[in-house]
């Protein structure tokens, strides 16, 4: 059974880390704002080249949602790395803290942080670029929820790689999701992808999210309902796989004594 006080303690440990460190605060507001400004201004410029549809809005919307999924997956592995860098993992897992409680605490914290980021960037996009993402209504909520789930699944995978290979692969914490950047159709339709990459995109729930978002912004029409089903089905599979890999990685790390010497 999950004990709420331990989940709370784990979250508090990392909330204190955010309060204490400048760079963790930058992750929540500053860098997403910089990205939004760069891509937003570039999009406005493209729009001025007499492009018919509202391409700027589609690019800005894609960017905001991509930042969301990217930040969530990174948060999960950075949370683990912070305790590894501090040599605090030993003491943490000497307590009755269970892997499920650690995971739950990490997921809730990443959710709260991402909510702050997306609220801020959505507000900024509305003020600076006249893009009101909230006008997309419930579909946007569905997309955001599914981006969270995919970010968590991918974050679990990244964390399990860190369990296995330690500090040697810490760069993965930031860069692994970038592998999916080109095939997710964040800024361009999936039809522009070469055939081989398009086949990969079919198996990524986020590619349906970004495609659907573009449909809504550019043509004000809903994507086919089968897309919504695919998003949910694929996400359930990815999340189940992510959690399994995470739990397996945790058990394996315990057998190898990784929590004692996490290098």
């Amino acid at each position: 059974m999950i004990e709420v006080h331990r989940v709370k303690a784990f979250m508090l440990r990392h909330a204190y880390e955010i309060l204490a460190t400048f760079d963790r605060k930058l992750d929540i507001i500053f860098w997403p704002t910089v990205d939004l400004l760069i891509f937003g201004l570039l999009s406005v410029y493209i729009q001025r080249l007499n492009v018919g549809a509202n391409v700027a809005a589609a690019i800005i919307g894609g960017l905001i949602l991509w930042s969301l999924v990217y930040n969530i997956q990174r948060d999960i592995s950075v949370t683990l790395l912070e305790d590894m860098w501090s040599r605090n993992l030993f003491n943490l897992f000497a307590t009755p803290l269970k892997v499920s409680e650690m995971l739950m605490g990490t997921l809730i914290l990443s959710l709260l942080k991402a909510m702050v980021t997306i609220s801020f960037t959505t507000f900024l996009a509305w003020q600076l670029f006249d893009l009101n993402l909230l006008s997309l209504g419930l579909v946007l909520a569905f997309y955001i929820l599914n981006l969270f789930v995919f970010g968590w699944a991918f974050g679990c995978l990244t964390a399990s790689i860190i369990f296995r290979f330690g500090a040697r692969v810490q760069i993965f914490a930031w860069s692994l999701l970038a592998v999916l950047y080109p095939v997710s159709g964040v800024f361009y339709p999936l039809s522009t992808l070469p055939a081989a990459l398009a086949r990969i995109a079919q198996f990524l729930p986020i590619s349906y999210v970004f495609e659907g978002l573009r449909e809504l912004i550019l043509y004000q029409r809903l994507p086919p309902s089968s897309d919504f089903v695919w998003i949910v089905v694929l996400n359930v599979i990815y999340l189940a796989m992510g959690v399994l890999v995470f739990v397996h990685g945790f058990k394996n790390a315990k057998q190898r004594g990784w929590f004692i010497h996490p290098i």
Partner: protein, 247 residues
């Protein structure tokens, strides 16, 4: 009554490729309120034993009963009633002394943690460091904070892995006195590793001598010295380390 019972505990790293046998089937038991020392040269298996007992390392074979229950089936409940302080781990670098202790107090579900934290930092002489970050503390201050953390949940069993390694002699003596007082007052059971032989002689009721992953002998510090015709534990330890004792 035995509060810790370890039977035939084995730990082999990389069992399939270049196996390293850290523990080769050790057995011992510790009574409630006893201070039990585990001695041995570096690599003998002392820390491995403690790390298995606190659930950070999965053994290859063997059974552990703690507080009358199978450790691996009741890990959560048992770990709530234990704690550890080790010279080989730290707390969160970017958190203050107080915040670190608060996190661990909540982790163990300690009620009235404010009072408990203030009591511990007073005892260990780090009250003035309450708002200082862990990363800014000296080695000795970190050790004292680690010890405070290890008592945050009023454990019934305390594991100490070289707990006074970086302390000056006067603070180390103060901490030993406090731990012994606690042990007497609350019937605290302590399992202890150290390379400081006078400290082991002062604190431990019984000592297990560990050599190459096996227990060579368990006896009182005086008993070990007497059976090897040595003036103290240090001489026994050196003889064992140099292979001058027949196993």
């Amino acid at each position: 009554m035995d509060i810790v019972e370890v039977k035939n505990l084995r730990k082999t790293y990389s069992p399939n490729k270049n196996p390293v046998h850290a523990l080769r089937g050790i057995s011992f038991s510790v009574a409630k309120g006893e201070v039990f020392g585990i001695l041995g040269v570096n690599g003998a298996g002392k820390s491995t034993t403690l790390n298995i007992l606190i659930g950070l390392l999965t053994p290859t074979a063997g059974t552990i009963k703690i507080l009358g229950k199978d450790f691996f089936k009741n890990e959560e409940e048992i770990k709530n009633r234990m704690n550890i302080a080790t010279a080989y781990a730290d707390l969160a670098n970017n958190l203050s002394v107080y915040r670190n202790l608060k996190v661990y107090a909540l982790m163990y579900g300690v009620r009235n943690y404010e009072h408990k934290i203030n009591e511990l930092i007073e005892i260990f002489g780090i009250k003035h460091l309450k708002d200082k970050w862990f990363g800014d503390l000296s080695a000795g201050e970190r050790t004292r904070l680690n010890l405070s953390k290890s008592l945050i949940n009023d454990p019934e069993i305390l594991l100490l892995d070289e707990p006074t390694a970086s302390l000056d002699p006067s603070i180390a003596a103060h901490i030993r006195d406090h731990l012994l007082q606690l042990q007497k007052r609350k019937q605290l059971t302590i399992i202890f590793t150290s390379h400081n032989m006078p400290e082991v002689e002062q604190m431990c009721d019984r000592v297990a001598l560990l050599h190459q992953g096996q227990i060579y002998k368990i006896d009182t510090p005086d008993g070990l010295a007497a059976s090897h015709k040595a003036p103290g534990l240090e001489e026994v330890f050196i003889k064992l380390a140099r292979g001058e004792i027949e196993e």
